[in-house]
């Protein structure tokens, strides 16, 4: 027993030290990459992209399942996006509410005979509609496929552009976000296969007619903690991994993909729990196996605003699902690990995801237990125990503040002093009990996956404010 505790504590100590070194390296890399990106932006004029006849067409794919609350506002906002050649395809994924009726009413949808070739698997199509008011809007009405992946696949089959941008129906894209993200693609269109933008927390901000009018920090503590998490995940994690072309995930809420790539890998896996992570890992696999010289990129300035759970129950479900999705992708792709054929993806990022993402809640839970036990049994000096806790707290806080610093140095979306002060304050308090709660939810996700419980549980939403008019 004593020997077990000693080994366990040493393992924990090494694990924690390693993870901290990795996070610090990621923070430094992210700061450097961000500076380089801003240097490139200095000579870019979005106006030139907007007016250029060489800017390729893009199809926005918007899966919608029971989104009656704000589908009209959401589509209104997507149609207002600044892009020269845009097609918006909303996929009504077997909604049992009035999603389709709302769209029909607001946009004057009429049945249209558009070519639909089932190139990737998806559930049966009931009909395709085109808007009389907005010719760029197409609605694909289909049977519920049981997953977002199935809905996106239907959209892929109907899309006509060489690039598709997948957007959540409950998210808001900034008007210039598509131009900005496509600027990343057009830097090297032969090599850039996919690009992800940043996803930020919408809660608390002022939205009028599906358009973000004023960015504000949410009021609730739970939501502010998620703001910090999102900043850390996107401005540090994704920014840094993409520097080495090892981006493991492009958020399902906002990402652009080459359509031919997605079709080549068979579209989204219909039963995938974390379809976004799964798609990117399979894309890496395919591109490595076919010896393609490719880039999967993250760009921090194209912004998508999304609503995050405001109550504990919804948040718990979301986090459990994310962790299930993680395992659901890592397990089928376990053969990629440490195989030279898969390059850095197989030798660095997937092992990292296993060790520091999947195992993290398990090791953390075991660690809490063994450290406390060792302290109680007198095996661990109380002074050392407290120091170790304090170190963990201080280091994690430093990384969180680093993400706020990146936000400050670059995009400064929270312009009010008081909001920044609140963000910094929450960086100091996020480690107890929020961190422990997240750990429990992630453990629940693992347990649900092992039990074969892959159900999608609804999230409670507040929705966007209504639109005064749906025509431009």
């Amino acid at each position: 027993m004593l020997r077990f505790l000693t080994i366990s504590n040493i393992t924990l100590f090494v694990y924690y030290l390693l993870s901290n070194i990795v996070y610090l390296a990621l923070l430094i890399t992210a700061i450097l990459k961000n500076a380089a990106h801003r240097a490139r932006l200095a000579s870019l004029r979005l106006e030139h992209l907007r007016t250029s006849p060489f800017t390729p067409p893009v199809t926005l794919l918007v899966p919608a399942h029971n989104e009656e609350q704000f589908i009209v506002e959401s589509v209104h906002s997507l149609l207002a996006i600044d892009y020269p050649d845009l097609e918006v395809i909303v996929i009504n994924d077997g909604s049992v509410d009035s999603t389709l009726e709302q769209l029909k009413h607001a946009y004057g949808l009429k049945p249209a005979k558009l070519l639909y070739i089932q190139q990737v698997p998806s559930a049966k199509i009931h009909g395709i509609y085109r808007s009389e008011l907005q010719p760029r809007l197409i609605v694909v009405d289909k049977e519920a496929g049981g997953s977002k992946a199935d809905a996106v696949n239907a959209g892929l089959n109907a899309a006509t552009s060489p690039y598709v941008c997948i957007v959540d129906a409950d998210s808001i894209l900034e008007r210039d976000s598509l131009l900005r993200i496509m600027a990343g693609v057009l830097n090297d269109p032969a090599r850039v296969m996919a690009v992800g933008g940043i996803v930020r927390v919408l809660n608390g901000s002022r939205v009028v007619a599906g358009e973000l009018k004023e960015v504000r920090l949410p009021k609730g503590a739970l939501e502010i903690l998620q703001v910090i998490e999102y900043l850390r995940a996107f401005l540090i994690g994704r920014e840094a991994w993409s520097k080495f072309n090892m981006l493991p995930i492009i958020s399902g809420a906002f990402g652009v993909f080459r359509r031919d790539l997605v079709l080549s890998i068979g579209g989204y896996r219909p039963k995938a729990v974390g379809e976004d992570f799964d798609l990117v890992v399979r894309a890496h696999r395919y591109l490595q196996e076919t010896d393609k010289d490719y880039v999967i990129e993250f760009i921090p300035d194209p912004t998508c605003w999304t609503e995050v759970p405001a109550d504990l129950r919804s948040l718990a479900r979301q986090r459990a699902r994310w962790h299930k999705g993680l395992l659901d992708t890592l397990w089928p792709n376990r053969d990629m690990i440490f195989r030279t054929r898969y390059g850095r993806v197989g030798s660095v990022i997937l092992p990292y995801m296993w060790l520091f993402e999947f195992w993290a809640p398990i090791i953390e839970a075991v660690g809490y237990g063994t450290i406390i036990l060792a302290a109680v049994l007198g095996m661990l000096s109380r002074e050392f125990f407290l120091q170790f806790l304090l170190y963990g707290y201080a280091f994690a806080t430093m990384i969180s503040i680093g993400s706020v610093l990146l936000e400050e140095m670059t995009y400064r979306r929270y312009s009010d002093w008081r909001e920044v002060a609140r963000l910094l304050l929450f960086c100091l308090v996020e480690h107890f009990p929020y961190r422990q709660m997240t750990m429990i939810w992630r453990l629940q996700g693992i347990w649900q996956y092992l039990r074969g419980d892959l159900k999608w549980r609804e999230m409670k939403r507040t929705g966007l404010s209504p639109t005064p008019s749906t025509t431009e």
Binding site: F13, A36, A39, R40, A42, S43, L44, R45, H48, S52, P53, F54, T55, A112, K113, L114, L115, I117, R130, L186, N187, D188, P189, S381, E383, F384, Q387, F388, L390, Y391, A394, F395, T397, M398, I401, G402, V404, L405, E408, M409, W417, V420, L424
Partner: protein, 394 residues
């Protein structure tokens, strides 16, 4: 030495150092955020005040009544004046431009930027290149051209964008020289946009370079020409339409459709039967720009194309030939091609011409006949056709 001693130290000592390090990190980060906010707030306030004052004497600055020496060596004033000048130049008419450029020259701002573009590296060099592009001054071209061969990719991109932004024909020459020798290393999209801006006044410049180019460079030049072509480029476009590279032929089709020289219809009709589907597609798009009756036949052939994109586009073009819809419909039915008919009817529905065609057929023949014609072909719109036929027979 320090490294060795850290490893021989007790874990508690290490942890203590780590705590202190992390706390120092937190303090530094927070301090930096606060100081930066404070500094920026103060800077923008000062800049705003100076901009207000300098705007008040703007005409005097432009005419030189306020000598450049008064503001040129005060960094903040210099920055504000340059920023106002460049913003004004971007929207200046040809009549206003000389006065603004004269101010840039006399004040030495232009020379300063040229010097920075040549002597500096990194961010300062790129900022200088961006500024030079915005000046639209011919003197800026050599400095921008030199940066095309810089080691840093960002610098090369800034140079290409800068040259493009000048909008001067001479600015295209260094890019074209490097392009035809396959040594211009910059994103294709940036090069195309830059050439488009620079060659707009005289697309013949591109024509001169196309024979010297090969492979991707040739395709790129043809693509730009496709956007800029004018009717007087007739013979050159004819040569491009017979090029061995399909991308070049596609661009020629685009150019012919845009420029519409006298022989465009016949050449586009030939290109509409090209072995490459995207050449045929571009030819069909080109043909759709003409309202001439001669285009109906090649479009009908394209409607029976094995490629769905070509069929769709031909259907799109035919469905918008408003006065001839009825006769076109008969000809489409005459092709006995189900896919062609399906594509055409879909487009008719989309363009709102469907009801008109049905009405026209009903008017000229018994309703049963109209229904039988429609029912034969409109597998896609069976229900609708039935209801129309039924209402016609009532």
């Amino acid at each position: 030495m320090g490294f060795v001693s850290s490893w021989t130290r007790e874990p508690a000592g290490l942890v203590l150092e780590a705590i202190l390090g992390s706390l120092a990190g937190i303090a530094l980060l927070i301090g930096f955020i606060v100081l930066r906010r404070w500094y920026r707030g103060r800077y923008f306030q000062k800049r705003n005040e100076r901009a207000f004052i300098l705007r008040g004497m703007w005409d005097d600055i432009l005419t030189g009544r306020v000598p450049a020496a008064k503001w040129r060596f005060k960094p903040l004033d210099c920055e504000v004046v340059e920023s106002i000048l460049l913003d004004t130049i971007e929207i200046a008419t040809p009549e206003e431009l000389p006065k603004l450029l004269a101010c840039l020259r006399v004040s030495g701002l232009l020379d300063m930027r040229i010097f920075e573009a040549r002597a500096r590296r990194g961010t300062s060099q790129r900022m200088a290149l961006v500024a030079l592009g915005r000046t639209r001054a011919p003197e800026a071209i050599p400095a921008l051209a030199e940066a095309l061969e810089a080691d840093a990719a960002e610098t090369r991109i800034a140079a290409v964008r800068g040259l493009g932004r000048t909008g001067l024909l001479d600015a295209a020459i260094p890019m074209l020289d490097l392009l035809v020798s396959n040594t211009l290393r910059a994103p294709e999209h940036a090069i195309k946009n830059a050439l488009l801006n620079c060659c707009r006044p005289d697309p013949h410049l591109l024509v001169r370079y196309i024979p010297q180019s090969s492979g991707p460079a040739r395709e790129l030049l043809a693509r730009v020409l496709g956007e800029l072509a004018t009717p007087d480029l007739g013979d050159e476009l004819l040569v491009l339409a017979t090029d061995r590279l399909p991308e070049v032929r596609a661009s020629a089709a685009r150019a012919l459709g845009n420029a519409q020289p006298a022989f465009a219809l016949s050449v586009l009709s030939v290109l509409a039967a090209d072995p490459e589907w995207f050449v045929r597609l571009r030819a069909v798009v080109g043909l759709s720009n003409f309202a001439h009756p001669e285009t109906v036949r090649p479009l009908l052939l394209a409607l029976c194309d094995p490629n769905r994109h070509v069929r769709q586009r031909a259907a799109w073009a035919l469905a918008r030939r408003e006065p001839e819809l009825e006769s076109i419909f008969d000809q489409v039915v005459g092709t006995r091609d189900r896919y062609a008919l399906e594509a055409f009817v879909s487009e008719l529905e989309r363009s709102g011409g469907f009801e008109k065609v049905v009405q026209a057929i009903q008017d000229r023949s018994p309703a049963e006949s109209a229904a039988s014609i429609l029912l034969k072909g409109l597998a896609v719109s069976r229900e609708r056709a039935m209801s129309v036929a039924a209402s016609g027979s009532r």
